[in-house]
Amino acid sequence: MSGFAQNTFNGLVSGAFYALLALGLAVIFGMLRVVNFAHGAFYMLGAFGAYVLLSEAGVPFWAALVIMPVGLGLLGMALERAVIHRLTKLDPLYNFLLTFGLTLILQDLVKLRYGVQSSPYETPSLLSGSVDFGLFDFPTYRVFILGFAVLLCVAVWWVLTRTRIGMVVRAATERPDLTRAFGIDVGRWVTPVFGFGIGLAGLAGVLAAPMRAVNPLMGADLIIVVFAVVVIGGLGSIFGSVAAGFGIGLVQAWGEAYLSTFPLVSQTIVFVVMAGVLLWRPAGLFGREEAPA
């Protein structure tokens, strides 16, 4: 029983990363209709940035947790202005290629300076212990990640559903033309939303630094699963991406724990789920079929 609870908890922690990354992808896709392939690279930059800040300037984890998302968010906004928005009117494939190219450039720049070996990053001392839950104890840092990610997702949900900004963004996501007809400048919101999505990826990166190998390819490995998560949740669906993120984390953890005698199953379970969902609901679990143009 305690084993099951622990595995569940672990699944939720992995899911927290998927959720944060998928959430960013979902808002970006909703607003810009851009599938941002560079998302994994920004996740990696978040983790690497935290490492560089700590090792070269002595900036602690807590400060990095604010600096990196904000910094990367601004970088994302600059990129959106400089290149991405120029291609949004064209076939989506162009931005596909552009963001994929950006990924390679960012990865190689980091490789050039820091090599491919993983860089060390320690858990902040405040969170290095473990929490006793009676049935089992669990590393404090993992509890922190889970709490933090849930809070953040709730905050994003609150902003999107309860504030005026959120209403504008949601409206612009679903029916940009109609929103414009109400006299709202949709274009003004595109850049900040892109920056926000990138900021979330950077934040996930900083959170990952103490528990994952920090190297230039860390994002490339993860992003494949995150894309599967986004597809399962429904492209552009904000709630769907978060729910699918946590769900896939759980499925993976349970798969590894209870299907380990069938390694092929536990390795491919995410994609099996994705294929199943697509057959059953082609727009994803929480996605809506695109309205005919």
Partner: protein, 416 residues
Amino acid sequence: MRRTMGVAAASAVVVLVAGCGGGGPQSSGDQKLTGDKIVLGVLNDQSGAYSELSGKNSVAAVEMAIADFTAKYGDKAVTTDITVETADHQNKPDVANSKAQEMYDRKGVDLILDVPTSSAALKVADVAKEKKKLYFNIGAATTDLTGKSCNKYTFHYAYDTYMLANGTGKTTTEQIGKNWYILYPNYAFGQDMEKSFSTAITAAGGTVVGKDGAPFPNTSGDFSTFLLKAPNLNPKPDVLGTMQAGAELVNVVKQYNEFKLRDKGVGLAVGLMFLTDIHSLTPAALAGTTYTDAWYWNFDAKNREFADRFQQKAGTRPTFAHAANYSAALQYLEAVQAAGTDDADAVVKGLEGKTVEDVFLRNGKIRAEDHRVVHDAYLAQVKPQSEVAEPWDYVKVLKTIPAAEAFRAPSADCKL
């Protein structure tokens, strides 16, 4: 039909004549060296997971060997025109295959060195066999290179899965704990390592109480399912043996520490670890971990002198793969010098059965039976952070494993 027979007979005569003269410096007529020069080819990972532990710094090590060889023989050297060709095989067998062919056929390479990643290493062995050109493998672990895939032109230089398992599995079982839980990446290398370790542990009187193949590559980066399982097995394991490598090893160790398995009485043994792995994990994260090392830079004055020169050139301390590349290039050049020709068959003849002593090979011997290069290996333990006196000096050598015990006996599968 008759015509073909005639041609065959004629070629047999040519081969016989050439064969009789082989082996001596005077044999190849005017031209002792193909193209009047020696070309060494370093084929390895220059951009991916293994590029730090071998990569460009292996090329630097080979260049050091050339410089040392030239300085030693001066005018008497068989040639002073020795160059290095390098290529990135990206750890992909098909890329390794085509790059190796290109090196032998078009770049005039006499010897291919390094080639990490077992699947790629085996492909290159096939190419060497087909082209009848020399190949010293350093970076790969599979025992198949000296087993069912062995051939006349392939030598396996630095280490293999048997050496790792025999050193770490046997000694850790005898000295640290009898009950093991083995976690391995579920592909050729990991499965091979798991088998080698299980055999070594059982032979030393230990028990494998559990083993799991983790997904490879593990896209979630999470190993906690397995790490949580370990302390709850019955009987409880004393040692977690992890066969993961590179970034996956980093993930396992980070999470091993997160779940505080050491405090729960489960020690850590690592199947394959390089100095660069310890550097990126920090000794603090690995303190007390045992593993088998093929060479350590701060073991004695001779190694240290090499490491100092290497650092001047490459800016970092050498891993065992770097030292082995240096040694392999040097021993090849010595063999060419002795034979007076770079003719592959003549050089192989000179190498087989030779005993060698250099900075990397201690009590070294190039076995004629299977072309395994045997030498002393070392059981190493990562120091606690407080004992690390200088950068990169992360381990102490607990014990030297004599060359005769470190490697397996020649396999019956190998027919040269």
